[in-house]
């Protein structure tokens, strides 16, 4: 359990964010979402730093007073990836034999509730957001996933790059047959 944040802390943090920076982050996450919608995976991968981590833990339906929590690093994760692992996944998506990808999935990544805070390192930001991910497949199939992201963005040669992403899904049982996308 994380200690409750007092309203004052949230306001102070928000106050410190420069409007130009906030808009730059908004533009960054919106563009990133569009790259995923358009399955431009190599370009999407280029938004990550070489030392990036990408973690989407499995969520367990556990009691409120269960101190082990709903997710933990020692438990199974949908993604527990380095950049090399992400490249493997992209290699599958882009293989001509990825039968399930044809006809193409109709993706929509909606990203909202963006919060920007100073990061732990001087060249980094902590960016929080939520998402709704809709996938339309075949004539009638659709899957909707919801979740919350915490990103560590780093400025590399003047541009924002993702150094770490944690995605906490709202689902214990995944209401879908697969995750043929990223968040």
């Amino acid at each position: 359990m994380t200690p409750a944040t007092t309203p004052a802390t949230v306001l102070e943090t928000a106050d410190r964010v420069d409007a130009g920076l906030y808009v730059e982050v908004l533009q960054f996450v919106a563009r990133e979402a569009r790259l995923l919608d358009e399955e431009r995976y190599p370009e999407w991968l280029a938004l990550f730093t070489e030392d990036a981590t990408y973690w989407v833990p499995g969520i367990e339906n556990r009691s409120r007073h269960d101190r082990s929590g709903t997710h933990a690093p020692e438990r199974m994760a949908y993604f527990d990836d380095t950049i090399a692992d992400l490249r493997h996944r992209v290699d599958r998506f882009t293989a001509p034999t990825a039968w399930a990808e044809d006809p193409a999935t109709r993706h929509l990544h909606v990203v909202s509730n963006v919060e920007v805070e100073a990061g732990e390192a001087p060249d980094e930001l902590t960016v929080r957001s939520v998402f709704v991910n809709h996938r339309g497949q075949g004539s009638t199939d659709s899957a909707v996933l919801y979740g919350r992201r915490t990103d560590r963005l780093r400025r590399v040669e003047g541009r924002l790059r993702i150094a770490a992403r944690k995605v906490v899904l709202s689902h214990a049982t995944l209401p879908a047959k697969n995750i043929n996308t990223f968040f």
């Binding site: 367990e60 556990r62 009691s63 199974m76 994760a77 493997h88 599958r92 293989a95 995944l174 047959k177």
Partner: protein, 437 residues
């Protein structure tokens, strides 16, 4: 319970390598399946390691019946229905954790770790009620619960033969996964579940014997993880088999690390290579080569796994056209932590809802289920005719052994076992089926 099947599976059709599509679509078949298969068979419920101490519990389903599996104060494991005898509410809402007992949210009936009724809100009113007997109102236990080398199974049928008999000689094969190391096994932490729009049997039969789909369905996954296609498994130079006992099925070759290599982590393959002589000591030369080889297995009815990737899973039915997949990762308890971690991560990277291999399976099973909506479509039987004359005797391998893993022999054996249970309310002649030669 019905005494005769409304639509007995025509076994002769299976002997000709054909299967009626109705069994993947019909509500009636499904309802009978819950009675005759899931309410009677030994069904996997937990690995011992998921219940490390008294009070550890998890919730699962046997068929559509919700079950709590819990380690009692005396250290033994019990399993009972997750439904209050008062008005039927579930008494445990979490999927796993630790508890001192289970209290129903509705009227406060509380139950011990052994399922017995301990107390209730306004208990005085019950105490004044003539004839009220707490001892009759515990949570309904399963009829039998037993384990095999760490895996726990339960059955609702008091007449079911013992687990050892139900598994029979399949235990010889299970040891490949469960007893290749003196420290035994455990599940790496966690459980991942997802929902597929398919009939559960299509997934189970796939793991029972469908090596054929590996090279085709999973071409893109192999491309991503191995940089090339899956080797042609049907080549006579590939020494491989289908084996089955009591409907439990394992298809495999003897290449030792073919499956393990797909998870893309040297540490796992190195671990298997380094321990090869230990595997041989414990399992003999043939089974030692099965530990991480290109293979898959299904313990009848719905418990599947992949040696090498070490994904273990159940296909839990949610209707004729819906299945919940729950997955875990099996590791050797005494393996170095970094090897266990690599296995956990690799199993997920390949065989999970986000895995590069598994991602292509669900689509196929959903398509194979939903096409049967058509009445005319359902008239056409499906082809299960590979390897009709592949049965052999093998000096080291027990059960029904068939040469070649590109084969439908195990799938036929799976459905033969299923049909026997569907067609009979008792256990006479249900086990120990000989495959045709």
């Amino acid at each position: 319970m019905r005494t005769t099947a409304p639509m007995a599976l025509d076994l002769r059709m299976l002997d000709e390598g054909r299967l009626p599509r109705e069994i993947f679509w019909s509500e009636e078949v499904y309802r009978l399946e819950l009675e005759r298969v899931f309410a009677r068979a030994w069904v996997f419920v937990a690995h011992e390691s998921q219940l490390p101490k008294p009070g550890s519990f998890l919730t699962t389903r046997i068929g559509e019946d919700e079950v709590i599996v819990v380690r009692k104060r005396d250290g033994r494991v019990a399993a009972f229905l997750n439904s209050c005898p008062h008005r039927g509410n579930r008494v445990c809402s979490a999927e796993a954790g630790e508890a001192r007992g289970f209290v129903c949210n509705y009227h406060g009936w509380s139950f011990g770790l052994d399922g017995s009724l301990r107390g209730m809100h306004e208990s005085g009113a019950y105490d004044r009620e003539p004839g009220f007997d707490r001892s009759e109102l515990g949570l309904t236990p399963v009829a039998q619960l037993d384990g095999y080398k760490g895996l726990l199974f339960a059955t609702f049928d008091p007449d079911a033969p013992p687990l050892a008999e139900f598994l029979g000689d399949f235990r010889f094969y299970l040891d490949v996964m469960l007893d290749n190391d003196p420290g035994g096994t455990e599940f790496a932490g966690g459980c991942i579940s997802s929902v597929l729009g398919c009939n559960w049997k299509l997934a189970a039969e796939n793991f029972a014997g469908d090596a054929l789909h590996a090279g085709w369905t999973h071409a893109s996954g192999a491309e991503a993880m191995l940089g090339g296609p899956v080797a042609a498994l049907g080549d006579p130079s590939n020494e491989s088999y289908h084996v089955n006992v009591n409907g439990h099925c394992w298809e495999f070759n003897l290449d030792s690390v073919g499956n393990a290599a797909t998870i893309g982590d040297r540490r796992v393959v190195d671990y298997l290579r380094e321990h090869r002589s230990r595997f041989e000591e414990r399992l003999g030369p043939v089974r030692a080569r099965m530990v991480g080889s290109v293979s898959s297995a299904n313990v009848f009815p719905n418990f599947s796994f992949l040696p090498g990737q070490n994904t273990f899973r159940t296909w839990q039915p949610l209707g004729p056209h819906r299945t919940e997949l729950r997955t875990w990762v099996l590791v050797n308890r005494d393996a170095p932590q970094e090897v266990k971690d690599a296995w956990k991560k690799g199993a997920m990277l390949t065989f999970s809802p986000s895995g590069v291999f598994e991602m292509d399976d669900g689509e196929n099973w959903e398509g194979a289920t939903h096409s049967n909506r058509g009445v005319v479509t359902r008239r056409q039987p499906l082809h299960y005719g590979l390897g009709m004359e592949s049965r052999i005797d093998h000096p080291e391998l027990p059960g029904n052994v068939h040469r070649g893993q590109i084969n439908d022999a195990n799938q036929r054996a799976f459905y033969r076992q299923w049909a026997k249970m569907m067609n009979s309310a008792g256990w006479d002649g249900v086990l120990e089926t000989e495959d045709a030669r």
